[in-house]
């Protein structure tokens, strides 16, 4: 057939020509070289064998083609745009144009030639990956994924890029403009468009979640096929339009007509696929909005409290049938005429019966409203049976998340994973309580108060009939009877999870707890890697559990702890109502497929590395000891401490850990509720399960990064707790304000009851009320009974008022005293609260030798060591807090604290207050000896008046004051405005970037800066003196004034006091960061320019000289002129000389 012959001919020689072009050769050689190195580094036994990548083999083709595709998408632009240019320039092409072939054949031939050449390169790269795959000891081979990713990633991208380049070149006929346009489109896609409107613009697969699970394969084929076919068809349209635009006299009407027909067919394909892709996105958003709107209708209605639920579940493939026998009680203060349940909107209720009587019911989206034909009085119990069937609508879960791939990325390295909340297929099922796969007496989201949650402790029973001989997994004791799996949890649970799949299991009983490990067949690689610890596993597990129990001062509340492996796509979003992620269920942890996302699950590699390191260091350690270390490290990081920080738009957040077992000790065990303050359980949980890290502290110390508490204080400056919650802010904001409000509340209770006493009593209280939901008024009554103190009355202001206290600290004095025949240390300071509302702050001390972590103080910052130390249950233990001080409005107190060890630093946490940062450090450099024997002292002494922060004759203008002018502070660039990119930080304070410092003055916060409440300064990139800040003030008396500037030296700019005497790495850097600062003093005789050597200046006030000023107003200016990287402007002080 001439058509195919001609296409093949053109393709063959087009490919030959392209293959011989230096540009393609250079690209190919570079790509093969770089990707081979990367493959060796990532996947081969001699390289890193990064566990996230080697654990699931589809990573190999995905990783290779992902990187290559970005490169070739750009290269294709260059080569394809050369298409017509070359045809025009190379006159020999004319002899080809006079040959008998149609334009269709020629253009299609060229396209196919280039496409197949690039696909050839892709295949070579894939072969490199496959080689690594074959020689790897830990990877299996997934050949289908090689083909799948070639088709998914490369073919549509190349075809689209080629077609677009061809068409633009045919239209514009200017190579330079075409290049620019195409590169612009590629850049726009990579940096701005890729995640928008459900990835509809992502022609390069740059952000498409296409990770293939080794268990369930691609879980979103519908989306993938539509999105990729969209660009395949669009590419075809462009290529075929090029046929029509091609500057050669056509020779075949049939082919021209064929091109037109194919254009229409491809356009139709494009439209259908674009519509489908967009619909998937739009439907998800619509459905989520529908859930929110439905919840809005029902959020103020009363629900029953579920006490018992017996569920019969029959798996039917992509749907299931179930009946739920429910027993419940009315815990509301009003009678209930209707029973409300939430059941996933993909499920249909078939029948509701009470005893033998059918009840009428209706289902509005996911809300089932049942008419019991009677009123259920407060405290009264009832039972019903609901039969239902259907599939699961995942949009129901986390309705406040529209799944923005950029804001909530889920990936292993650069590989994007689809986020799933439920699986219901022929071969695999996973349904967590978040899907409401059984009737739930409450809502999954309360729109007007997202921090609200309704927790029922329910005694569940589950009977499961599976398909295809699959194994069912759920919580509790498992029995297999007559083909049914029966599950009976030993204690009431807050929710029930079911999984059905090709599961195998191992059970280990340790200290009356059964640890059950459910894994997919063949995924128990760790048994071999940790074979040596098999006989000591019980001891190790016991020890870890004891550590946890000690941390939380309570026993693990369940009799089982199951570890359930789930497909890699399973993902939970953070919720505002709880810190607990859905990966953690009562007595069950859902672990990712082959532990792929867990940092240290590559036991084999870690073992080999450690062995090598030990041998190098001549350390003798047995294999068993090493494996014990690896096991302990894994357990600690995954289930106990873990990596708890997450960067979002340059801001560090404490992200609750997915697999941390903390919630087992509170969230799955206790619940406090309040109709007036429905946020209370989230507040308690946030405080009692709080995971603290000094990492934030260190970041703040180094770069001025705001802590979560600071951010919360800034947010709460303008709105009360209630107002903020009703504004429905982001989950990070909610978490931040809940945390600070929880800290405040618990410090209030501790201050009234005593730190130790409260701890002991409250611990017992929550143990006594295990698996119960306790009304907060009951807790209040019980506290009053025990301590004579009611916290409930405080809650009104705590929840509704926006006024914040503000604390000033003066007169810090440290003395060595003799008390009780021992040398001890007394630290005295005055704290005042000039604001109109009462406030609480706590203090602690860093003690011991210089630079070390200290004893009994807060987590220290070891000199030169790893500073990331996580502490769990800090709120519960409160062992780091020395004292909690309450200050009434306008009150000042002299505070004294006696310490056994020498104090190095006083650390104040102002909790909920105007103070920014809320954690303030006061270094204690000098300790005076007090010779007299001190026997008595008052810990707190109210002073007559609030101490002045400025002395008579002093005028201070800080950068926060009206007299300070820095011009326009940093703003969003016009380009960012056009593109709709905004600074996501909800505060005005930035982070110090030494290398990419902003041109405009940017406010930053550090505890070493000057300020009344807000310890801030402004900084900017150094320049030639073209930008400046000014401090101006009114002077009442003319005369001689001493003028001072404030130098606040933070972590990077402070000379480290290292015991080793070595120059710390930061020293050199600080020299480059801060150097000369140029001040202009305006006085009667003119302007004097003063240069301050920042590096050698003393921290605090530095004298700029004495000047006669007779004018009304005085002015000091500072410019951005400096030899350092940045300039910093804080405060100026004028002191009358006489």
């Amino acid at each position: 057939m001439a058509l195919l012959h001609n296409i093949r001919t053109v393709a063959k020689y087009e490919a030959t020509t392209l293959r011989r072009s230096w540009f393609f050769r250079l690209f190919s050689i570079g790509a093969i070289f770089i990707l081979t190195l990367m493959n060796i580094g990532m996947f081969s036994p001699v390289g890193g064998e990064v566990w996230g990548l080697v654990s699931i083999s589809s990573s190999v083709p995905y990783y290779n083609l992902y990187i290559l595709n970005i490169g070739q998408a750009i290269v294709v632009i260059f080569l394809a745009a050369d298409f017509l240019k070359r045809d025009k320039k190379v006159d020999t092409n004319e002899v080809l144009y006079t040959r008998s072939m149609s334009n269709f054949e020629y253009v299609i031939g060229k396209t196919w030639g280039i496409l197949r050449l690039f696909l050839g390169l892709d295949i070579i790269i894939l072969c490199v990956g496959l080689l690594m795959n074959i020689i790897s000891k830990v990877m299996y081979i997934d050949l289908m994924s090689y083909l799948a990713y070639l088709l998914i990633i490369c073919v549509p991208t190349i075809l689209f890029s080629l077609g677009l380049a061809f068409m633009l070149m045919s239209l514009i006929r200017n190579q330079a403009i075409t290049f620019l346009l195409l590169l612009g489109i590629a850049a726009l896609d990579m940096f701005w468009l890729w995640y928008r409107l459900g990835s509809i613009f992502d022609y390069m697969s740059f952000g498409l979640p296409i990770y293939k699970s080794g268990v369930i394969g691609f879980d979103n084929l519908n989306f993938i096929i539509n999105q990729r076919l969209l660009y395949f068809f669009l590419g075809l349209v462009f290529v075929l339009v090029t046929v029509l635009l091609f500057k050669r006299l056509p020779q075949s009407k049939v082919h021209t007509t064929l091109s037109v027909i194919l254009i229409f067919i491809s356009l139709a394909g494009t439209s259908i696929c674009a519509f489908n892709t967009y619909s998937i996105y739009k439907n998800r958003i619509d459905e989520k909005n529908l859930v929110i709107e439905t919840n809005r209708q029902f959020e103020n209605k009363n629900f029953v409290s579920l006490t018992d639920a017996a569920i019969d579940f029959s798996h039917k493939g992509s749907f299931f049938e179930a009946t739920a026998d429910l027993k419940f009680v009315n815990k509301n203060k009003e009678s209930l005429d209707r029973y409300l349940f939430s059941l996933n909107s993909g499920l249909n209720v078939n029948r509701v019966i009470s005893g033998s009587k059918d009840l009428t019911f209706s289902k509005t989206n996911h809300i089932v409203e049942i008419d019991p034909g009677k009123s259920l009085l407060p405290g009264e119990r009832d039972s019903i049976k609901i039969s239902y069937s259907g599939s699961i609508n995942e949009s129901f879960c986390y309705p406040n998340y529209t799944d923005n791939l950029k804001e909530n990325p889920y990936r292993i390295q650069i590989l994007k994973i689809n986020k799933r909340q439920a699986f219901l297929t022929d071969n695999y099922v996973l349904l967590t309580p978040e899907t409401h796969w059984y009737p739930v007496a409450g809502l999954n989201y309360y729109p007007s108060n997202p921090a609200r949650i309704k927790v029922d402790f329910t005694a569940y029973k589950l009977r499961v009939k599976t398909k295809n001989g699959l194994t069912a997994v759920s919580q509790g004791i498992t029995k297999n009877e007559n083909g049914y799996f029966l599950f009976s949890p030993e204690s009431p649970l807050t929710g029930l999870t079911i999984a059905i799949g090709d599961y195998k299991s191992d059970t280990l009983k340790v200290d009356s707890i059964r640890y059950i490990n459910y894994y997919f067949t063949g995924h128990d690689y760790y048994k071999k890697d940790l074979a040596e610890i098999k006989d000591t596993l019980k001891l190790l597990v016991s020890s870890k559990m004891r550590d946890l129990e000690t941390n939380f001062s309570t026993r693990y509340p369940f009799k089982t702890l199951s570890f359930l492996e789930v497909p890699i796509q399973f993902y939970s979003y953070p919720r505002m109502c709880t810190q607990t992620r859905a990966e953690l269920q009562p007595s069950m942890v859902l672990l990712p497929e082959k532990l792929a996302t867990l940092y240290n699950a590559n036991f084999y590699k870690r073992f080999a590395r450690q062995k090598k390191r030990n041998a190098r260091n001549n350390q003798v350690i047995t294999d068993k000891e090493l494996q014990v270390r690896l096991f302990n490290d894994f357990v600690n990081r995954t289930f106990i401490n873990g990596e708890n920080t997450n960067y979002v738009n340059g801001v560090v957040w404490n992200e609750p850990l997915r697999y941390r077992l903390g919630p087992s000790f509170y969230f799955f065990k206790n619940s406090f509720y309040s109709t007036e303050y429905p946020v209370i359980n989230a507040v308690f949980e946030s405080h009692l399960q709080k995971l603290n890290s000094s990492e934030n502290e260190m970041n703040n110390y180094m770069t001025g990064l705001l802590s979560e508490n600071d951010r919360a204080n800034l947010i709460l400056k303008d709105a009360s707790f209630r107002e903020m919650l009703s504004k429905n802010p982001g989950s990070d904001t909610v978490r931040a304000i809940i945390t600070i409000k929880g800290d405040y509340l618990f410090n209030l209770m501790r201050s009234k009851a005593g730190i130790g006493e409260f701890k002991e009593w409250f611990q017992k209280y929550i143990d006594d009320h295990k698996f119960q939901s306790v009304d907060i008024t009951t807790l209040n009554a019980d506290m009053k009974k025990k301590f004579g103190f009611e916290f409930y009355p405080y809650l009104y202001d705590w929840f509704n008022k926006k006024e914040q206290p503000g604390f000033l600290f003066t007169d810090l004095l440290a003395q060595e005293i003799v008390a009780g025949d021992r040398t001890r240390y007394m630290v005295t300071f005055t704290a005042s609260n000039p604001e109109k509302v009462a406030g609480i702050f706590n203090i602690s001390f860093r003690t011991g030798g210089s630079g070390s972590g200290g004893q009994g103080g807060l987590v220290g910052v070891p000199a030169g060591g790893n500073y990331s130390i996580s502490m769990q249950g800090r709120g519960m233990e409160a062992s780091d807090i020395s004292k909690i001080i309450v200050l009434d409005p306008g009150q000042a107190k002299k505070i004294r604290t006696i310490l056994d060890a020498q104090p190095r630093e006083l650390l104040v946490n102002t909790l909920f207050a105007k103070n920014i940062p809320c954690e303030i450090k006061f270094p204690i450099d000098e300790i005076k000896k007090l010779r007299n024997k001190t026997t008595e002292f008052k810990e707190e002494e109210i002073t007559v008046s609030i101490p002045l922060i400025t002395l008579p004759g002093e005028i201070i203008v800080d950068n926060e004051d009206p007299g300070f002018d820095a011009g326009k502070l940093e703003s969003v660039s016009p380009l960012k405005k056009i593109l709709g990119i905004s600074n996501k930080r909800n505060n005005n304070y930035g982070e110090i970037y030494f290398y990419w410092a902003p041109e405009r003055w940017t406010p930053v916060v550090q505890s070493t800066y000057y300020g009344k409440y807000v310890l801030s300064s402004v900084y900017a990139r150094s320049g030639k003196g073209d930008r400046s800040v000014t401090w101006t003030t009114k002077l009442t008396d003319p005369g001689l004034y001493d003028i001072y500037c404030y130098i606040g030296k933070a972590g990077d700019a402070t000379k480290a006091q290292s015991g080793s005497g070595q120059q710390p790495p930061g020293e050199q850097r600080s020299d480059n960061n801060y150097k000369d600062m140029h001040y202009k003093i305006y006085y009667d005789e003119g302007v004097e320019e003063i240069t301050v050597d920042f590096g050698n200046a003393e921290p605090g006030w530095n004298n700029l000289g004495r000047y006669y000023i007779s004018h009304d107003s005085a002015k000091v200016e500072m410019t951005n002129k400096s030899a350092g990287r940045i300039v910093l402007a804080d405060a100026i002080k004028w002191v009358k000389a006489d």
Partner: protein
Amino acid sequence: MKIEIQGLNKIYPNGNQALKDINLEFGTGMFGLLGPNGAGKSSLMRIIVTLMKPTSGVVLVDGKDIQKMRKKLRSMLGYLPQDFRFFTSLKTWEFLDYSGSLAGMKNRKERLAEVDRLLDQVGLLEARDRQANKLSGGMKRRLGIAQALIGNPRIIVVDEPTTGLDPDERIRFRNILSQLSQHDVTIILSTHIVGDISSTCQGMALLNKGELVFSGSPENLVKHAEGHVFKLNLTPYEYEMIKEKYNIISTIPVDNGWEVQVVSDDIPEFNSTPISPNIEHAYVYYMEQKMHADIIE
């Protein structure tokens, strides 16, 4: 095969009229298109090979408009453009293979045999595996003619084929075309080198500034110049005088002066002897006449 050109006009978008009402007719054998640079030869060629559409007029092949039978025409066409220097990165044999394949030679084995035969015919067999881009100018022209010949075309259009060739290569090239013209093939040869036409063409046309100034056989063109070509032996002084007045075709230094050939309607002064004109003389005479007529108009 009969090719008729009727009322052919070509006006480019910039307003330049390359062809003005051209009417021509010729059959098999070699047909020469002669004219100075810019006469419109290449435009006419490009229209004949369907690279370009005329503004008006038609080109008929066996009575059929070539614009309506592009596929058929292209399948029997071999074309060598005026510029044939820049190649894509293909080897000599690959380029021929590409052309052959597009010329409809589907059988690879036969095609490769034909490639080698043609390479041999044009003396490029030794350069078979060399990059076409790296060939010398003459070799490139030879490759050009080889690709124009591949696939047994019935119409061969060669535009300025001998430009830049050395005498040997030019002779070889003429011989190839001559041999081909013995078969049932129409060869349209465009050139501004008069010698190419005289030795090979049965019919010819003379184009000047887009207009057809002559069509017929080379002999007829020569006839027009009979009695208008003279040989003169001149002293240097006389030569200076003659130079201003007549169109000198050739100048040969001889003892005590020059032997020159001139074309003229009048018998020149001095010692002039009429000589038999060749096609070159006729071409110059014709162009002179045309130019003179233009001035009078």
